[in-house]
Symmetry: C2
């Protein structure tokens, strides 16, 4: 079977016969095959065992015929060797959060080719088995900083904002290190064979436009400009207010969450990017007619973009009915 | 002392000497005086006892010289007589959530003047003691529906979206009743003397623009058009993507959260509204220089608006240092 290069052609700006489709968190708990693997090992073990990570990456490709795969890992995996005591209970928990300059100074730069060798091994194994492109990924510096500063989930992310404003030096030291590490981590993934990388900025939408401009965007820009040899996709949730800044980002494509229409995003971004998105993951719990209705709205809006990669507007949810995933993929593929 | 009508003049579209300032949740746990009252009664008892509710409403006016007061209550108080088993543990918990058409049919229309008489009594008492305008408020139909359908807090609000799409009839019956109740509840507050009412749509930002247009906005519009004799303020969090619709709303003012700048909001809303906002409540944990910096940015942006009411972009947080609240109010008042 020929290699499916639909994603790469779309990212190259070519007009394609239809948009490629993949789903954030497509290897995951909604699939019985995944739960079977996961029942034998912990989540971190799964991330760190290339053969198992490869197995779950292939599952949704085989089941639904998706147009690309994405590395199986967690955005927090690469912060562990920085000196972070990371646990999943199952929510991420960090017992030594960064709250002072000394804490930030203690965080290490990581050599991904040695200290995260299992990720590179997993990538090479996945690529050897796949007939579609493999997307590498990382968390964005700010989103990683949020976890490292809070130590666990939060509603207000107050500790992050306190450090940002009341100890800007510590915040900056941490962000600089995270930026350096993110660049070397993504570059190592590209060097291991990923033709596309996506950077997830899940928590960027927590701040004002002024704070995004001063405390977040410069680091995003530095990563996007530094990673060479692959298409770069930036996905920041709840970020439509930042589009006047993000439109200056040096990258191929932007992820759009479901709360902003692709058309609105494209207008605000001045038609500069291939857009990826943006069905609400909750719609996969609706009946097939509703899924069809919203998929068609998105497909229609996608036609006027510079390029469109069909995806959800956020990760697929664990209880999603598998038959609805199949239905969505079939609509997008026109089968 | 003369009645402070700064808020009313601003809402009337008059140019004023400075913007009025009040803070969402200004009567609350960050004040020792509030905690003292609250230590003697449950939250619901406090809401239902006019003398105590009045006492806590006056506290921040006396302490900070704010330009208006807001009714002390909870958005869920008026859904209790609909037939909802409501408890605060301390997070709201509903033991009989609405999941079927039968559940929705069972919900009652409420006569606020009799069944919520304690609210009207509280309003009259507050007004008799206040030297500033009293803002009445309610939750918006969708936000109330979210609580009633989920039964408790949620990250994905999956049950809401399932009912909306898979049982649209039940969703519609519930929303129609909530809309009728919201209109009569707000009208009763106006009839009791409130010159301004604010409707909070905390969860509207959960849905796509298509869903907002079809399943939420028509009900918002019906409330805004039906309440007579007072200025109407609509505050929907995370709603900047909906501004192309919201700009058609028949009301005096819109609340803006801290994630969109007032300038951006004003442009998207075509300069049609007085805007209220929008400092991040988390900034009240920063040092005074940072608070001053961001307050001045907001004050400056406010000058180009049709009218500006200074507020936070969301409710003040329980641990907020009181001296920082005083500092913010002083900056806005120019003292």
């Amino acid at each position: 079977m020929a290699f499916n290069d639909l994603l790469l052609r779309t990212l190259n700006g070519e007009k394609t016969e239809r948009p490629p489709i993949w789903l954030m968190r497509q290897a995951g708990r909604y699939m019985k095959e995944y739960r079977d693997v996961r029942s034998k090992v912990s989540f971190l073990e799964l991330c760190k065992t290339p053969e198992l990570a490869c197995e779950v990456v292939l599952q949704p490709i085989d089941a639904f015929g998706l147009d690309c795969a994405i590395l199986f890992s967690d955005i927090l995996v690469p912060i562990e060797p920085m000196g972070v005591n990371l646990d999943f209970k199952p929510a991420p928990y960090i017992s030594n959060p960064v709250r002072t300059l000394e804490d930030a100074d203690r965080m290490r730069l990581v050599n991904p080719k040695t200290e995260l060798k299992f990720v590179m091994d997993a990538i090479k194994l996945m690529i050897s088995k796949l007939n579609v492109p493999l997307i590498g990924f990382s968390g964005a510096p700010f989103t990683l900083a949020c976890y490292m500063i809070e130590g666990e989930g939060s509603k207000s992310f107050l500790e992050v904002k306190k450090l940002m404003h009341n100890n800007t030096k510590a915040y900056t030291v941490l962000m600089e290190k995270l930026t350096d590490n993110t660049i070397s981590y993504l570059q190592a993934q590209v060097d291991s064979g990923c033709p596309v990388v996506q950077m997830f900025d899940t928590w960027a939408g927590l701040v004002s436009t002024y704070e995004y401009e001063e405390f977040i965007f410069p680091y995003v820009q530095r990563v996007a400009e530094s990673v060479k040899g692959a298409h770069f996709i930036y996905f920041a949730k709840d970020s439509s207010s930042f589009y006047p800044l993000i439109k200056n980002l040096n990258c191929a494509a932007l992820g759009v969450d479901w709360k902003t229409s692709l058309k609105q995003a494209d207008a605000a971004l001045e038609h500069k990017f291939v857009l990826q998105g943006n069905m609400d993951p909750a719609l996969l719990f609706a009946d097939k007619a509703t899924i069809t209705k919203y998929a068609n709205i998105i497909l229609e809006e996608g036609k006027s973009l510079k390029g469109h990669i069909f995806n959800l507007g956020h990760g697929i949810m664990p209880q999603t009915p598998v038959e609805n995933v199949k239905h969505l993929v079939d609509i997008v593929k026109g089968v």
